[in-house]
Symmetry: D2
Subunit: 349 residues, 4 copies
């Protein structure tokens, strides 16, 4: 299913990591043609000054947002809270808008307010946006022109828990999910906490309770249950490894869990079930996913207690941000869902 | 409280990481004089051939176990399962025996058999050994001559959970504890899994269910409750960061948790409560503990649900192995409990 | 310049890192169809058991070399010294043979013997092979059916030094080149030295003098001069950063060096000159090149002494091995030289 | 040789890495009593807020420099260029002044001006200061009250090259020395370049020519020869590995090099010659030296050309800064030269 359609793309906020990653993917996408990238701080500089991997591959220079012109697709890669208040100005510039921030993910303004600490600036717009998780919303994404891409930690939690919750085989205990997150998730601006001598090699719990992505998981996951997220910084730059603990009923076997994942994710192009009983690659590992759009999912069962430990791994900037943005756009336009997302990842890496 | 006593020490299995770390600490200890170190593989080589940090600080050569002579203190740093079957031969060589393996930690042979997969080879000896966790067993350690040092992951779990469980304020939910563990915990022998290109930067769940140290935690922690341990390899060489989730009753406040930790650990020389509400060092981080005998403990409370996330960090080879072995010996002999354990750790590291 | 030609490929020794990397690249190459991968140790296992990045992308199983069948292209990814002695058996199986080892790189048997410590087993074959460095041998590679891919450290040294030496502006002093090399360069077999706790974070000079790749540099670089290579292991998995020091004549300016590199490498698709006077990406850095076929080259001049420090960075497994193998094959077959080599690399990574 | 003398210490600029490291060492030093630590930015905060390793070990709070009171020893840990202009105010506060910056290292104002880009602000003071390299200036340090501690990269270069140059067996070729440097050497302030996602895993040449420490090496090393330093950032936090290339005369053997190092450094307490012909720890590696005051030195000889590759490794913050400051002070006061510097370093680390 190849298409000869070719859409122009403007990336707003393109000096950050999310925008830069969308740019990288779009440059190699057969149906996309990036024509504009904005950065207030770097306006006038070539994009490869900030994203040195693109040297020789992209001759664009950053421009200021004020100089933005029309494009078929507007990709908003702004800090959380920046896009919602001025969404009208982008609506006039492009038919399709993809927002990589959290601004339009939460449909319930009360849930948004609880986790983001303030009223949503444009609640009347929320219903226009499709939550950009292709595995859960493929049908709604078809033809969509407003895509609010799912959060990275939320994606790893949702994709791990969705099958068993959808099938209704999770018992009513609290669910604990722990995310091990790379440093790129905190963005491209240096801080005391991101200073290399302080951050390298550290294992730092940065959000033991109250992580904002809880709101997305509550919204997207079937059923009602207490869900608790804890996020820990790791020495990696990219990647999230999430472990989540659920309990299944007596008699529910490891084979049943296998079947559940197969039933729900059988044909998904970017979900792989990883559970091998020998060798060194037995479970998902984000180390293997840098640059790829895969979400690898594995599990292990404690037969004595019925606990199932579900593990998921993603690259936070690809399957957690720009990659599923591209995947969502591919679905929205009816292109090959894999277009632009073919990188296999490296071994060793 | 200084002592002029000076005991001779023989380290059996001194080419591994546990034995090497005991050697490092013992060389700088005012009351210890290491006279023998065994290694079957490296017999005849200087100890600094294997432990290059000791070059210029130790002129001993490895000898074979068959050449072991008497010493005041025999430190067994053998692979799990190696010491118990031949413990009689070591009993004849020294008055005090410290075992760094798991062989004598579990008092209940049935619990041992469940987690170690075979009957204990010397169950009649188990009652002679004191479990080497100074914070829980200081009184039994005084004068002890058989010390079975606590396991590293077990130590991080036990020290995190002990105060609230001892005070009886943990509600009856399942307790999930997740340990992020450095590569040194797997020992000094290279494997496919420890090959640098495969292991560097990986986040690899290696024991999602059924971790053996669960047995120690069940034995040592007050109360009866389901306890679930999950262990994940991290890119660090040393260190364990454990997060554990418990629920406290309605009305139990953050201040109450503070008080609980203070009440139980108030005077402990190697426990530090780390909970800071600004800056970059807000919670325990094993990065700061390499080489030290501290267990740093922090917590955060989710007031809405009563969940308390307790975090503990240790150096698995020091507070998790050789360090609390020295601390236990200091207590057993009535020496300054801090003797030989004064290293502050590095910042940055 | 696209071609619809599609050649079958057999990779011999496909469980190592070089073979695995060729496999990764070939799977995404429009003109290649991998039909066989051999591994004596892993015969019968799916290739993704060893190369987990290929899960879902390749359904081949490893077979034994004894079961090798004919293919259009035979890629030899065997340990150094393994291919030369049995080259005749591979000649019967495929028209085009690409050797990733050192066996056929050196044309002068005496030079080979000096650096490899033994007589070449098939010296009569040496003249059939083209040295697989596309920048220096593009013309010989056109139509070639025997390609001996250049060594990784050699490539970084040769591409750094070639322009100034070719233009004859290097003065007759000794040339010192230092390579900082990732752990993957030592191959896929675990050793004591590659054990993660020993290797992680280490900076280990592993070949201060007498590096074998000196032979390639001597053979390929114009002029006669003493060349000294020193190789140091770094904490990275992939990548080589080489710094080389040469002296240019009085009056030769920084602008002249620029011109020299432009003159020699002006149209090269995989050479980028990186020399920026602000920002954080001023010179080549292998961190930015993981998975790519680029050789980034930079330099700085000490005007006072005429010393020029030339820096080059590559991914040792791509531009240093499998990538320029593919590039060489593209040239040999007249395909788009960039085919299969489009990955931009990641930022951040 | 123990002393019961106990001097009060004030550390000026104690929130940086150099000052923090001096504080760590001084807290464990039998003859030192730290009474004041200044930090303009952190005045009023406990020192462990910035240096979390000192939690529980130091109850001091930072004060402003304006509040500095007299002390026996004033340690200046200010940015380069800050101390020289206001040295008079510190002279009034303490008898002994140790400067960790570059301000008083260079005796020749012209050399200073060449490498630091401006005239020295207090040239008349330069002769009062002893260059704080204990191995070269032990005699001058005895009784000294003005100690200008040697620079970290300079120290690794000087200690590597000193023996052969002192003995006059280095031929008159240019000397190339390459330093691989950890991120802590750039200080405690975060920058774009130190942002973890950008810095982690990078190999970045940051000073290919013109490194300021060249001035120290020129001043301290015997003989006249062209010396060229190149500095490269590595993924480590601490440590410097320097490789330097010199040529010795025909007939000068490896054994002669051994003898030269032994002759010059035979009794040095913190110099270790590391050259082992088997195993994995054959040459100096900064990985083994974190937190220690050792300078490990090794070499390898290319018999064919007479090139000797000399390698040295240090912890830049200890033997490169605060450690040899303590060592110099120990000498100055006639204390045990090893006092406070007994940490062995960790293995593995």
């Amino acid at each position: 299913m190849t298409s000869s359609e070719r859409l122009s793309v403007a990336i707003v906020g393109g000096s950050g990591y999310a925008g830069g990653e969308f740019l990288r993917l779009a440059l190699a996408h057969p149906n996309l043609n990036v024509t504009q990238v904005t950065s207030e701080r770097n306006a006038g500089s070539p994009v490869h000054f900030v994203h040195p991997n693109l040297r020789g591959l992209c001759n664009l220079k950053f421009r200021k947002m004020a100089d933005l012109e029309a494009a078929d697709v507007i990709v908003l890669a702004l800090p959380h809270g920046s896009a919602a208040g001025k969404i009208a100005q982008f609506e006039g510039l492009g038919k399709t808008i993809i927002d990589l921030s959290a601004d339009f993910r939460i449909k319930d303004p009360a849930l948004y307010a609880k986790y983001y600490g303030e009223a949503h600036p444009a609640p009347e717009k929320l219903s226009e946006w499709v939550y950009g998780n292709p595995e859960l919303h493929r049908e709604q994404l078809a033809g969509a022109t407003r895509i609010a891409c799912a959060g990275c930690f939320a994606t790893s939690v949702i994709l791990a828990l969705y099958p068993l919750l959808k099938l209704g085989v999770v018992m009513g205990k609290d669910i604990i999910a722990t995310g091990l997150v790379g440093s790129s998730a905190a963005g491209a601006s240096s801080t005391d906490a991101s200073h290399h001598p302080e951050r390298e090699g550290s294992l730092r719990v940065y959000k033991p309770v109250g992580h904002r992505h809880t709101a997305e998981a509550i919204q997207e996951l079937p059923g009602r249950f207490p869900l608790h997220l804890t996020a820990i910084s790791t020495p990696r730059v990219r990647g999230i490894l999430t472990t989540a603990h659920v309990w299944v009923p007596d008699g529910y076997s490891e084979r049943d869990v296998w079947s559940a994942f197969r039933e729900v994710y059988g044909d998904e192009p970017f979900i792989r079930i990883v559970k091998v009983n020998k060798g060194i690659h037995r479970y998902p590992d984000p180390k293997l996913l840098d640059g790829t759009n895969y979400c690898d999912i594995g599990f292990e069962m404690d037969n004595e207690t019925g606990r199932v430990v579900i593990m998921s791994a993603i690259d936070n900037l690809v399957k957690g941000t720009a990659g599923h943005a591209v995947q969502s756009l591919n679905i929205a336009r009816g292109w090959d869902e894999r277009a632009g997302l073919g990188f296999a990842g490296l071994h060793p890496a």
